[in-house]
């Protein structure tokens, strides 16, 4: 937990450089160009994404923020390669995304750990697929177990772990492959506030240490401010980019500081407007059905 004692600490430290990995190579890492995604639904179609243009730089921590149904997970799934855009294209590292792959590790809200594998086996799975030698796998798994404070749980099955522990395993499983991009779909959405904060700090630590590009979907305004270099606010149906703003607060960020709360107010106004539209559309859907 990083609670700063002084309320204006965040403001006074603003002059300090933003902590985080230094970008290397070509700056643009993930490029989304003119992406539309249209889903067919009974009696018509839903435009989940419309004209999305987004360039994410190497080593950047980007949060996709918006109410339910705004297409933020749809966009993440398109970058992951789970679903193809109806129009437009996505490149990662200059290559067009065609299908999911180990260069874009995915962390799911539901953890998606394999319940029949122990913690260590879950983490080793991607490495075995890669064809890594047994001894090297053992070594890498041991490192990750240490890094995520999971060493004493290595032979447990997921059912015996708490939600926070499971998500640590899921993160370790993705880190094992050392993919340059980590995609996270509301990974801490199901966790209690304290566990959530400790995992957020853990994630920032890992990000600072590894320099990964992280695309993180959330509907929590506070979470996005606490974590991101950059927050991309999406609108509700059709999903378009409403605001793309940079968070300049130094890390560790103090959620009680004035600057944090000023930003939170601004973002709340943006997101709440979309939430109202979401509620109106859903209500109309209910009455016409």
């Amino acid at each position: 937990m990083s609670v700063q004692p002084h309320p204006i600490a965040a403001v006074t430290e603003r002059a300090m450089p933003v902590s985080g990995p230094v970008a290397s190579g070509a700056p643009s890492h993930i490029v989304v160009t003119g992406v539309d995604k249209v889903f067919a639904v009974p009696g018509g179609e839903v435009v989940a994404l419309k004209d999305i243009d987004l360039t994410i730089n190497r080593g950047e921590f980007v949060c996709l923020l918006g109410p339910s149904g705004c297409g933020k997970s749809t966009l993440l799934n398109a970058i992951a390669g789970f679903s193809h855009p109806t129009r437009g294209g996505i490149t990662v590292e200059g290559r067009a995304v065609a299908e999911p792959g180990p260069d874009r590790g995915m962390v799911f809200q539901e953890y998606a750990l394999f319940p029949w594998m122990t913690v260590a086996q879950n983490i080793a799975f991607g490495l075995e697929i890669k064809g890594m030698a047994r001894a090297a796998i053992e070594k890498r798994v041991a490192e990750l177990l240490d890094m995520l404070k999971l060493a004493e749980f290595r032979d447990r099955f997921p059912k015996d772990l708490s939600g926070g522990m499971r998500q640590r395993v899921a993160i370790a499983r993705v880190l094992a492959l050392d993919s340059p991009v980590m995609l996270m779909d509301e990974p801490f959405g199901a966790l209690d506030a304290l566990t959530r904060r400790s995992l957020q700090d853990e994630l920032l630590r890992i990000w600072a240490a590894t320099g990964k590009t992280i695309v993180f979907v959330t509907h929590s305004i506070e979470e996005s401010i606490y974590l991101a270099d950059r927050i991309v606010v999406l609108t509700y149906r059709p999903g378009t980019i409403k605001r793309d703003l940079r968070v300049e607060l130094p890390r560790p960020r103090d959620s009680a500081s004035a600057a944090f709360n000023a930003l939170k107010r601004d973002l709340s106004a943006l997101v709440t407007a979309e939430q109202h539209r979401f509620e109106q559309v859903e209500m109309k859907g209910l009455t016409t059905d």
Binding site: P100, F108, F114, P115, W116, G126, I129, F157, K159, R173
Partner: protein, 273 residues
């Protein structure tokens, strides 16, 4: 703790013991024909005689161990168990791959499922005439019938297991770089095991029902044969002793399968007992 368990035991035993007492009194008082309903004591004596070796121990005849297992009941039980195991292995061994194919390929499912749905409701016992026509007498028709009994529960559950694999596991595996074959082997197969094993448990239960019927028709040993043979001699005490043995063996098989399942599914939620 100890007293509550004793209490539970006492409560569980009260009704059976009461029935046994009334049964014994009715028999001792001469209210029922012993040919129709032998007394519990007579059944117990007969059960012991059925279990015990037929002849006194003679070192010249063989080892002490062999003598211990020379009783008629153990031979019958082993013969029945053998048929159950062979029949089950044949039936489940055919159902498992077919179920995996049908579960993972819509094309195969659409081609094969109608036939399976037509055949499935035919009770294995209805195959008896055909099985004798095809296989004559002996173990072959019995194994055939038992295999049919085990086949459908395993098939249906395997299909359901493969089809109900949570898509998120497949997505996770794909994003970790798994090929289709790896996903099948390391994700779909283990994810389907709870279904497959519960199908196997139902299948082995069915196999045990069918073995008793098959032994009444086609062979001359085994627990099913023995109780039918006892009827021909009006040994009603032996019929009941044989039935009790069948029950005990069935319970034993189910307990063993259940223990094996709990071990194989120790990762599975909601399988604590």
């Amino acid at each position: 703790m100890q007293t509550s368990r004793l209490r539970a035991l006492a409560e569980g035993l009260a009704v059976p013991l009461g029935i046994l007492a009334i049964w014994q009194i009715a028999c001792s008082a001469g209210l029922v024909n012993p040919m129709v309903l032998p007394s519990p004591a007579a059944v117990a004596v007969r059960w012991w005689a059925y279990l015990a070796p037929l002849e006194a121990y003679d070192p010249a005849q063989g080892s002490w161990f062999a003598w211990l297992f020379s009783g008629e009941m153990l031979h019958d039980a082993l013969a029945s168990l053998y048929r159950v195991v062979v029949g089950f292995v044949v039936g489940a061994g055919l159902a498992l791959p077919l179920g995996l194919f049908m579960g993972s390929s819509d094309v195969i499912y659409r081609h094969v499922n109608p036939l399976m749905q037509v055949l499935r409701p035919i009770p294995p016992i209805a195959y008896i005439p055909l099985s004798i026509l095809w296989f004559g007498l002996g173990n072959a028709p019995a194994v055939f019938l038992i295999a049919i009994g085990a086949f459908f529960p395993v098939l249906m559950n395997t299909i359901a297991g493969v089809r109900h694999v949570d898509g998120i596991y497949i997505r996770a595996a794909r994003s970790l770089g798994a090929s289709r074959m790896t996903i099948f082997r390391r994700v779909i197969l283990p994810a389907a095991t709870p279904y497959i094993l519960s199908g196997a448990r139902i299948g082995i239960g069915t196999a045990f029902i069918v073995v008793i019927v098959a032994e009444m028709i086609a062979v001359n040993n085994g627990l099913g044969f023995r109780i039918l043979e006892a009827r021909e001699y009006f040994w009603s005490d032996k019929i009941i002793a044989g039935m009790l043995t069948i029950g005990a063996l069935g319970l034993l098989i189910d307990m063993a399968v259940s223990r094996l399942n709990s071990h194989l599914l120790r990762w599975h939620r909601g399988l604590e007992s």
